[in-house]
Symmetry: C2
C-alpha cells in the first residue's frame, strides 16, 4: 500500500465570499474549496482538518489545516500546486510534512485573533470587508481597562453562544490588547482556546464599555456570572480574523 | 430662477468593480454611479467634473469632484445624503461649497498617486485588489535611485501612452519615493499634473530597474529620449491609487 504522509498547511483567506470554514450543504465554504483543490492536484478525495472552524465572513491570516496524502507532489511544491487551482481569496502560505499523529485542531496550544474597528467618520472603502465601522465616540482606554479583567484562567460561559454544547468552558486568556493604528483600532486576543463566538461577544461587550454603557470593572462581574445574558451583543463577523495558531513545536 | 451653488466633494473608491471614472456606454463607471446618486438626492440631472479620470481598476483615496446644485440639502449633510444612496465601494469623505468658478479638474495644482507592490512569496488575499504581487527579487534601493532622476521639470513623452493627444508634455515631479512597509512597497509620486498612464509607465520602468534589467541612471536617458518605446511596460492598474489633489487654497 502506498505510504501516506501528514501535511500541515498554513493559509490565509478573505472570508467575505464564504459561508465559513466548515463544509455544509448548499453553501460555498473554505473547506469545500480546499478539498476540491486537493482533489485537483492529488486526483483523490482528501479530507482536511482545521485548527479553527471560522464562521461566515470571518477571515484568516494564519489558519492551519492538515491532511493525509501520498508524496506525489514534493513538499515544497504543495503551496504552489494548490494555489494554482485555488481562487485568489484563499492562499496557502506554507506547507510541510509533520509527524503522523499531528492534528491541527487538537494539538493547537493557543490561537491569536484580531478584531478591527474603523473609526473614520465614513467607512473606509478599502476596509469595508475587514473592519466594523464605528463612527460614534469610543473610550478606547476604558476598553483596554475592561480587557485587562479577561486575562487569566476563567470560565467564559458568559462569552459563549448559548447554543454551544461544549461543557468545559474554562479557558486561559494570555493577551487582550486594543491598539490604535490611525483611524483603525485593532483588538488582539490570545488564548489557549476559544468558545463559540467568544471573541465576538468579548468585543461586543468591550464596545459597550467604550460607549460608557458599562464600567470597565463590570467585565469581571460578567465573567463571574457565567451567564451569556450578562455580556454584550455578538459583534459582527467581518471584523474578526484568525491571525495565528500555536503548536508545541512553535515555541 | 433658483440659485445654484458650486459643491466640491472629496471621495474615495475601490475601483475594482468599475470601468474607470469617466462615463461610457455599456460599462459601469464611478461617474455614472455618482451622477445617479446625485439624481436620487436632488431629483434632477447633475453633471460632475472630476480632478482625475482614473482608469479601470484604479482606486482613489482623495478624488475631488465638483457640481452645480441648489442648496436643497444643507452642505454638511451632503456627504451623508449621497453616501446613503451610494454602493459601499464609493464613499464621500467631505463636502463644501466653493467659489462659483472652481473647477476640480482645471484648478488642480498638483496630485499625489501611490502604487503598491506586494512582495510576499504568495499574494496577500487582503491586498489582492490593491497591490501588484511581485514575488521575485527587487532591488528597491536601485528603484529609489532611478526615481531621483524623475524629480524636476521634464518633458515626460517617454512616460506617456502613445495614443495620448496632449501636446504639451512637460510636467514637474516634486516627489517620487519608494517606501517599504513590511511585505509591501509603496511608491508615492507627486506632480503638478500627470500624462495618460504616466505613473503606471514610470512604475513599469522602475520595476525593470529593480530587476536590474536597467541601470538606475538610465532613467535620465529615457526621459531625454522623449520616446515611449524607450521606457518600460505599463504596470497593472490595480496597484494605483489617487491619494490626493491639491488646490491653491490648500497650501
Amino acid at each position: 500500500m502506498e505510504q501516506k504522509f501528514n501535511y500541515r498547511l498554513t493559509l490565509s483567506y478573505d472570508g467575505t465570499n464564504y459561508h465559513g470554514f466548515q463544509i455544509q450543504d448548499n453553501a460555498v465554504t473554505v473547506q469545500e474549496v480546499l478539498e476540491k483543490g486537493l482533489y485537483k492536484i492529488y486526483g483523490e478525495k482528501i479530507r482536511i482538518k482545521a485548527a479553527s472552524r471560522t464562521d461566515t465572513g470571518v477571515h484568516a491570516r494564519g489558519q492551519v489545516i492538515n491532511y493525509q496524502a501520498s508524496d506525489l507532489i514534493p513538499t515544497h511544491r504543495v503551496p504552489y500546486a494548490l494555489n494554482s487551482v485555488l481562487p485568489d481569496d484563499i492562499r496557502i502560505q506554507e506547507g510541510e510534512i509533520v509527524s503522523p499523529g499531528f492534528n491541527s485542531r487538537h494539538d493547537a496550544l493557543g490561537k491569536v485573533y484580531s478584531y478591527t474597528l474603523d473609526r473614520g467618520r465614513f467607512h473606509s472603502v478599502f476596509w469595508r470587508h475587514y473592519a466594523v465601522h464605528i463612527p460614534f465616540f469610543l473610550d478606547v482606554s476604558a476598553m483596554q481597562k475592561g480587557a485587562r479583567f479577561l486575562i487569566g484562567r476563567h470560565d467564559f460561559t458568559s462569552f459563549c453562544s448559548a447554543g454551544d454544547k461544549v461543557k468545559y468552558r474554562v479557558r486561559e486568556i494570555i493577551r487582550a490588547d486594543w491598539e490604535e493604528e490611525g483611524k483603525r483600532v485593532k483588538f488582539l486576543i490570545e488564548a489557549d482556546g476559544f468558545l463559540y463566538n467568544m471573541v465576538r461577544i468579548i468585543v461586543g461587550t468591550l464596545l459597550e464599555v467604550g460607549r460608557r454603557k458599562i464600567e470597565p470593572d463590570k467585565v469581571a462581574e460578567i465573567i463571574k456570572a457565567e451567564d451569556r445574558s450578562k455580556a454584550g451583543p455578538t459583534a459582527k463577523a467581518k471584523g474578526l480574523c484568525l491571525e495565528r495558531v500555536y503548536y508545541p513545536v512553535d515555541r
